[in-house]
């Protein structure tokens, strides 16, 4: 038996390698540099490796190739999503690196390993320690996210899922304030995440049992030639869907979302909300459009049901929230439902629409969470809705920008959110799912209500005596907000820029 070394097309996996390399370098910085000097290295390392990876993605433009022995597929959707992820991560890192907002220096725990309220924590706080381990964690998570939509077989997909998820579990527990809440969120996220990963693995095993291969192309062929036992593949599809739908927080696998979004440090929430959704939908699209395309008539009813309850429940539960971050969490659940309508379309328009929606949603969400980091009182961020009352009086620009993001999330014309909705709904309608469109439109109406409630609160209510102060955004946060707002506006007024790109990218290689 002779082995041959796997052929790796380094140029084609370069974006992932650059980010991974950056992450390793960042670990070395953590290990060998004195604490005070780390921050000065970590921020440039993160930003430079993201920008370099983005350049590498641009240079791959037009590639359509199966790389690394079939485990990584570099094609239009991969490159489109990787580019999106890198741009979003750039904004995310800017928020994570911000040190001029919190009076104590950073949004992250002085020493994550010290138990809340312990002597060790007090010592670390008194010494003014600010940890920087969040930067390598972010880069690791990002490298997993970059691999996720590119995975050409189920095992690579699983590895990507874990590389994306594990750092996120830790990052959720790093909040400097309200540490117990943050740690609880991390634990919940970890337990449920591990559980859903097991579902994914089990599903992958069953599909392997059916198809005799884990590669998506192979599964596709096996399905079309009707190779094995139907029950096994259907069970496999159901279980693997659980793992993936968990990541995009579709109902009924959404339970972690509000707690984690609320408990995690807001910059991490911003990064996670945008990047996880993009990466996981990338994987979902590839799995269902490539591997399971032949089973369309089996998985479509399942996803239709999930999309409907996701849209309705997300919108309805968001109505009852009193915390800004939890409200956005439920709104992200509702949006997962909207994007699913694009997935269900299972035609080219559906793919294009979903890709566009992910860009639009990602930037709007990062911008919205960035604004939340600005509204603060003595206890840190003031996320309770009542504290935002009359915000427009204190800071008209911040309130207007936030209002704009909310209108984009609600899908008002001239924002990117509207074009995204139109794209996915029209794709769903053309595939014959008129009912889905009607449910989508009605839940948009419900969703509009809670977004508008916040606008009413900010613009039409009286400010409170002991209300929060709105910090003037320091440079990095301001940059992230400006980028997000600009993308949200430009994609609303001139969406062709990205629509055309999505159109030319919307072709899977297998």
């Amino acid at each position: 038996m002779n082995f041959h070394a796997p052929a790796i097309e380094y140029r084609e996996v370069l974006p992932i390698l650059i980010v991974l390399g950056g992450a390793l370098l960042a670990v070395l910085v953590e290990a060998f540099l004195p604490r005070a000097r780390r921050y000065g290295f970590q921020v440039p390392i993160s930003l430079v490796s993201i920008v370099a990876a983005f350049v590498a993605v641009l240079r791959l433009h037009g590639t359509s190739h199966i790389a690394a022995e079939g485990s990584v597929i570099v094609d239009g959707p991969t490159l489109f999503l990787q580019g999106t992820l890198l741009l979003l991560a750039f904004c995310g890192v800017l928020l994570i690196a911000e040190r001029n907002l919190d009076s104590s220096g950073s949004a992250f725990a002085a020493q994550a390993s010290a138990a809340p309220g312990s002597d060790a924590e007090r010592t670390a706080l008194a010494a003014g320690v600010i940890q920087t381990e969040v930067f390598p964690l972010t880069l690791f998570a990002l490298s997993g996210a970059l691999l996720f939509p590119a995975a050409g077989d189920l095992l690579t997909m699983f590895v990507a899922l874990e590389v994306l998820s594990l750092p996120l579990y830790l990052m959720s527990g790093l909040a400097r304030r309200r540490r117990l809440l943050s740690q609880e969120a991390a634990l919940k996220y970890f337990l449920l995440g591990a559980f859903s990963s097991a579902f994914f693995l089990y599903g992958a095993a069953l599909i392997y049992g059916y198809a005799g291969t884990v590669s998506l192309g192979g599964i596709r062929e096996a399905v079309s030639s009707n190779a094995g036992n139907d029950i096994i593949i259907l069970l496999g599809v159901a279980l693997i869907s659980v793992g993936l739908l968990f990541k995009v927080s579709a109902v009924p696998f959404h339970a972690w979302t509000p707690d984690v979004y609320q408990g995690a440090p807001t910059p991490v929430t911003a990064f996670m909300a945008a990047c996880t959704k993009v990466a996981a939908f990338g994987a979902i699209l590839r799995l269902f459009y490539v591997g399971l395309a032949g089973l369309r008539w089996d998985w479509r009813p399942m996803l239709t049901g999930i999309a409907i309850v996701t849209m309705i429940l997300g919108a309805l539960l968001a109505l009852t929230q009193t915390d800004m971050k939890r409200m956005l969490a439920y709104s992200s659940i509702a949006h997962a439902g909207f994007i699913l309508t694009g997935v269900i379309a299972s035609n080219k328009a559906g793919l294009e629409g979903s890709l566009f929606y992910l860009v639009a949603y990602g930037f709007t969400t990062i911008g919205a969470f960035a604004i939340i980091t600005l509204v603060r009182d003595s206890g840190g961020e003031a996320t309770h809705l009542s504290k935002w009352s009359g915000l427009a009086r204190r800071s008209p620009i911040v309130a207007t920008t936030y209002g704009f993001f909310l209108l984009a999330l609600a899908g008002i014309p001239l924002t990117s959110g509207f074009v995204g909705k139109f794209a996915v709904f029209s794709a769903a309608y053309s595939s014959g799912s008129a009912a889905l469109v009607v449910v989508g439109v009605l839940s948009s109406a419900v969703a509009a209500f809670f977004y508008i409630r916040v606008i009413v609160l900010m613009f039409f209510s009286e400010p409170k005596e002991d209300g929060p102060t709105v910090v003037v955004p320091p440079l990095m946060t301001a940059t992230a907000i400006t980028i997000s707002a600009a993308v949200t506006l430009v994609l609303g007024v001139w969406p062709s820029l990205v629509l055309d790109l999505a159109k030319s990218a919307a072709l899977f290689t297998f």
């Binding site: 008002i412 139109f422 439109v441 509009a448 009413v456 613009f459 039409f460």
Partner: protein, 503 residues
């Protein structure tokens, strides 16, 4: 050709941006910029008439540029006779409202310049919504319009402003989203039938849509328009919004914005879904008649002047939809004329009522009395506006109401007869209002009210002049509107019923 319509859209938008960039505290300059740019828009819109061929039913002054090529969406503008009249209604009323609202924004939550910047951006959207010939572009303007109105009501209105603004927005958004579902369906159907997607209104009228589907799509559009118009039972937001808004906002809201509803029925519902329109006609006729009577009855019962005017509008919108769905040329011409006339007569009512209310610091009818002796000019102008609302012959509303009833009678005699009761009720609510507030002994608190000042007189004079001129001489408008109405009827495939003479 000169892009008239784009110019009309751009001038107020630029004015609005200029105001937004002004430094704090330059309120007077902001007002002057607002008035200046709205007057410039008015002048351009009048010059535009020179290029309009009044005998043609076509969409004229057309412009078209690719906007979102992937979806076949174009930035396409153009007007037919009906759209032209409504664009003019908007450009005429905008400077009048700005002049009349000169000091209205002082008690708002936000600065004075915000108020005028919002008014101008609203004018941009109003022109856009009537001029769009691409259904998607129309939808964009239709929804975008809500945002400035929402802030105008919620930031500068009276006591119930937040509640009213939210109610207005939610009703409208709900209708808009239903329409979005229909727009999406049209997009997909056009892609299937024409090969490439399009939103061009003329191309869309050639689609062959299955009758059953047509009914659903019709409902998506119609409910959105019925909420906007508003037709009973979708009307409940209007009295709240109109009474909470400042008089100027109320004029634009009821006078112009609500016309988007009736305009949409005539311009979109009928040509796009002719079969469904015919199917639903009996129901809509019934709803219209209910609106006429219900609005009038509730108007009689109101104690608040602005709410009273809002309910009279519901009654008048009933007449307009009645005229549209009677499917006769007199009915539809009358309905179009009514849209214009109602715009002016409501403008007069709301503006003068607003001045009365701000002087007396109360909007209750019972707090007024004997204004005829104290403030004769204000009382006379209010009297003329009231007479216009009850459609006194010689004032503009009479012609349109008469045309609508004649047009309806030839097809639905019973509806016309019941609607005529609305005229009698109209006499009741107007005369009661006039009698209680203007005549009789001077009520306590009214003794020292100042009469209209020069700015107010300048603002109201053109409105009253138009009401009187159109009352005697509606021909210029009818000449422009008739070819378009004939064309619409032809697209829908209906003809006027043959006159049935003596047997």
């Amino acid at each position: 050709m000169f892009p008239w319509l784009t110019t009309l859209i751009l001038i107020p938008a630029l004015g609005s941006s200029a105001i937004a960039l002004l430094p704090k505290g330059r309120d007077l300059l902001a007002k002057q910029v607002a008035l200046g740019s709205s007057l410039l828009t008015l002048i351009v819109s009048l010059l535009m008439l020179l290029d309009f061929q009044k005998n043609s039913p076509d969409l004229q002054l057309a412009e078209s540029h690719d906007w979102i090529a992937t979806f076949g969406i174009k930035y396409a503008l153009g007007v037919d006779g009906i759209a032209l009249m409504l664009v003019l209604l908007a450009t005429i009323l905008a400077p009048i409202v700005i002049l009349a609202s000169w000091n209205e924004a002082e008690n708002g939550r936000f600065s004075v310049k915000t108020f005028f910047a919002l008014l101008l951006i609203l004018e941009t959207f109003m022109v856009g919504v009537f001029a769009a010939t691409d259904v998607f572009l129309f939808y964009v303007f239709f929804e975008a319009m809500l945002i400035p109105v929402y802030f105008l009501i919620g930031s500068f209105g009276g006591a119930q402003r937040s509640y009213a603004a939210v109610k207005f927005l939610l009703y409208s958004l709900f209708g808009g989203l239903l329409m979005l579902a229909s727009v999406i369906a049209l997009y997909v159907i056009s892609k299937d039938q024409l090969g490439a997607p399009t939103f061009d209104i003329t191309a869309l009228t050639h689609l062959q849509i299955d009758a059953h589907l047509q009914r659903w799509l019709f409902l998506g559009f119609f409910i959105a328009f019925a909420i906007k118009a508003p037709l009973w039972p979708f009307h409940t937001w209007l009295p709240d919004a109109a009474s909470a808004a400042t008089p100027g906002t109320a004029v634009l809201l009821v006078g112009v914005l609500d016309k988007v509803g009736t305009f949409g029925m005539l311009h979109y519902c009928l040509p796009l879904f002719p079969e469904a329109a015919k199917f639903f006609t009996p129901v809509i006729i019934v709803l219209s008649v209910i609106s006429v009577i219900y609005g009038a009855l509730l108007a009689i019962g109101q104690t608040d002047i602005k709410r009273l005017i809002a309910f009279t509008s519901i009654s008048h919108f009933g007449f307009i939809t009645l005229g549209i769905f009677a499917m006769t040329s007199q009915g539809q011409s009358g309905a179009t004329l009514y849209m214009v006339n109602h715009g002016f007569s409501t403008a007069a009512l709301f503006l003068i009522a607003g001045w009365m209310i701000s002087r007396r610091k109360s909007s209750l009818i019972s707090d007024f009395g004997g204004l005829q002796r104290v403030t004769p000019v204000m009382a006379w102008t209010f009297f003329i506006a009231g007479m216009s609302a009850l459609a006194l012959p010689g004032l503009s509303s009479f012609v349109s109401e008469f045309l609508v009833l004649v047009g309806t009678y030839t097809r639905y005699p019973w509806a016309a007869i019941v609607a005529t009761v609305g005229i009698i009720l109209a006499a009741l609510y107007v005369l009661l209002l006039v009698q209680r507030s203007l005549h009789g002994p001077v009520a306590p608190g009214n003794e020292n009210l100042p009469d209209l000042n020069r700015r107010e007189m300048i603002a109201i004079a053109p409105v009253l002049a138009i009401i009187i001129i159109l009352g005697f001489f509606p021909k210029p408008i009818l000449d422009v509107v008739n070819p378009t109405v004939a064309h619409t009827m032809q697209v829908v495939g209906v003809t006027d019923p043959a006159p049935t003479g003596g047997k």
